[in-house]
């Protein structure tokens, strides 16, 4: 197959980025893109595969970030925070998922929007703990028994490694009993049930795995960006995450990464356009959805098809 040279070139490019781009701002932007990619891969479990619309993903992202920020600022060692953030996200998704995973798509969408809003309101109004609208600053950085990445470039490499792990785990789940059950649930819930799939349990698991991805990304966000505010985890962010998933390609892990990176970097790259950037951005998203309904990831397979037809 011709996939290996492309993959190797891609890896080389990813690893060389900090050498090419000395600008700390660009690296910082890419770090946020990587974190978004992890959150979108999480969203893909429940929305891309299990077919349940979830606008609560930004709230799980925020829960993870605030849990870590509050815990480290209170003096807890950093090593505990991934666990704390994961547990908080898991518990919240279980509480929200248990009653709602029986609901059909639109009702679920409404419920998750409501959940996101509740979390945002708690963050905004619980000022003594969360810092309210001004957020939390000077959050302690990643440190495992005194060792931790220094500077943005080291953070970049660490986050790339964690993203790779997130991709591998997602790919492994996709090719297991659980991944097939998720996709079967999306394609035909009744046929999945009659094939012995407990669809409610499958949807709940997809929802919870996605929430844990978001919670862990939130933990890393808080301790690598070192500043968080409610804006980063609002309803707008939830819609943006969903857009990343759709533009990148629902159901495709690679698509999640492409979508997250493209929609994180693009607004900054188009900043020179001033207010016009939103117009271009909107048109771009519409163009992808109309011309490539399978997302950017589907373009690659389209090219392959073309080539196969020509040869």
């Amino acid at each position: 197959m011709k996939i290996w040279p492309i993959l190797a070139a891609g890896c080389a490019l990813v690893l060389a980025v900090p050498v090419i781009a000395h600008d700390g701002y660009i690296i910082q932007l890419l770090n946020i893109a990587i974190l978004n990619a992890i959150v979108v891969i999480g969203l893909n479990f429940v929305t891309g595969w299990a077919g349940q619309i979830n606008f609560g993903q930004a709230a799980f992202y925020g829960l993870g970030a605030y849990t870590t920020a509050i815990a480290t600022k209170a003096g807890l060692p950093w090593v505990t925070t991934p666990f704390l953030s994961a547990i908080v996200a898991m518990a919240a998704s279980l509480m929200l998922g248990l009653p709602t995973m029986r609901l059909r798509t639109y009702y679920l969408a409404m419920t998750t929007i409501g959940f996101g809003e509740i979390i945002r309101l708690i963050i905004v109004h619980w000022e003594p703990v969360t810092g309210g609208t001004s957020g939390l600053r000077a959050i302690p950085g990643i440190s495992i028994f005194g060792f931790g990445p220094q500077g943005q470039v080291q953070h970049y490499y660490l986050l790339i490694a964690i993203l790779a792990l997130a991709v591998l785990i997602a790919a492994r789940i996709r090719d297991s009993v659980l991944g097939r059950a998720m996709i079967a649930t999306k394609d035909s819930e009744i046929a999945a049930e009659q094939s012995g799939v407990d669809t409610v349990r499958t949807k709940l698991l997809a929802f919870m795995i996605g929430a844990v991805y978001a919670g862990l990304a939130g933990c890393l966000y808080a301790s690598s960006i070192r500043f968080i505010s409610p804006d980063s985890f609002s309803g707008t962010q939830a819609i943006l995450l969903m857009t990343m998933l759709i533009v990148g390609g629902m159901g495709s892990i690679v698509g999640c990464v492409i979508g997250a990176v493209a929609l994180t970097v693009l607004p900054e790259a188009l900043r020179f356009l001033g207010q016009w950037y939103l117009v271009l951005y909107g048109l771009g998203v519409i163009a992808v959805i109309v011309l490539a309904p399978g997302g950017l990831a589907s373009l690659a397979s389209l090219v392959q098809l073309r080539r196969a037809n020509v040869s």
């Binding site: 009744i190 046929a191 009659q194």
Partner: protein
């Protein structure tokens, strides 16, 4: 003394608003036979099948499969008790490959944990290997082994029906419910299908066949039940049912006049 029937339904009733789609149906299906359920459009055949499989529960009655009451049980629980089905309107999993479609059902009775999946330990690999083997066997039975890695949507219509049968077989059912399996098939494909059904029966699976096409089922069925307006109006060996005047009036006669 006859052995206990594998399916035993009593007074199965299903209402849709004012319409009584199933009106106190009693049905006993002996083990290992091909039981056909025929009747004109709207007579309640698919509704009965949905009630048996749990896809759409009956409002009243009792349904036992292998001696166990399944009334109001969730469909996946019924599937795990050994009752598999296909659909009149094909419901394959579009975003999965042919073999993956079958694997979904082949995993019916394998329990695995997220921990096993993430660590890809020996238990996980063993269970995936088992699932793969069962799925390939099922594809072999319906003759789709060569298309295992294709996208399910790439299959032509008749083969998608076969894929549904393979998927149902992969859960190793004791009862197989087929809802108009020959719909949309040409003569050759239908004949192959009948041949497959006969082989399944010989392997010990009880088959409940819902069919619109009477000629197709008469040859292969051991027993035929006739539904009309949600009531069972006749039951017996194919030859008996064919002679039954009521059936001819309700169903065969009308069809013949139209034809």
């Amino acid at each position: 003394m006859t052995p206990e029937p594998i399916i035993s339904a009593r007074g199965v009733t299903r209402r849709f608003g004012g319409l009584v789609a199933l009106d106190g149906i009693d049905l006993d299906v002996p083990r290992g036979i091909v039981q056909a359920i025929i009747g004109p459009n709207g007579s309640g055949k698919t509704t009965l099948l949905n009630a048996l499989s749990g896809a759409s529960h009956a409002d009243a009655g009792s349904i036992r499969v292998g001696g166990q009451e399944i009334f109001r049980l969730k469909p996946h629980r019924i599937a795990r008790l050994g009752l598999a089905r296909t659909f009149q309107n094909i419901r394959i999993f579009d975003n999965l490959s042919v073999i993956e479609n079958v694997k979904v059902a082949a995993a019916c009775n394998s329990r695995t944990s997220l921990f096993n999946i993430l660590t890809a330990n020996a238990r996980h690999r063993l269970s995936e290997a088992d699932i793969d083997r069962h799925a390939r066997e099922a594809l072999d039975i319906v003759g789709l082994a060569l298309r295992a890695d294709d996208r399910a949507t790439q299959l032509p219509y008749a083969q998608q029906r076969l894929l549904e049968i393979a998927r149902a077989l992969a859960s190793k059912p004791s009862v197989l419910l087929l809802d108009e399996p020959a719909a949309g098939m040409n003569m050759t494909e239908s004949m192959t299908l009948l041949d497959t059904i006969a082989r399944l029966k010989n392997s010990g699976i009880t088959i409940l066949l819902v069919e619109h096409n009477v000629r197709l089922v008469m040859g292969i069925s051991d027993r035929v039940a006739v539904l009309d307006f949600g009531k069972k109006i006749a039951e017996g060996a194919p030859s008996e049912v064919q002679r039954n005047l009521q059936v001819i009036e309700a169903y065969l006669g009308r069809r013949h006049r139209h034809a």
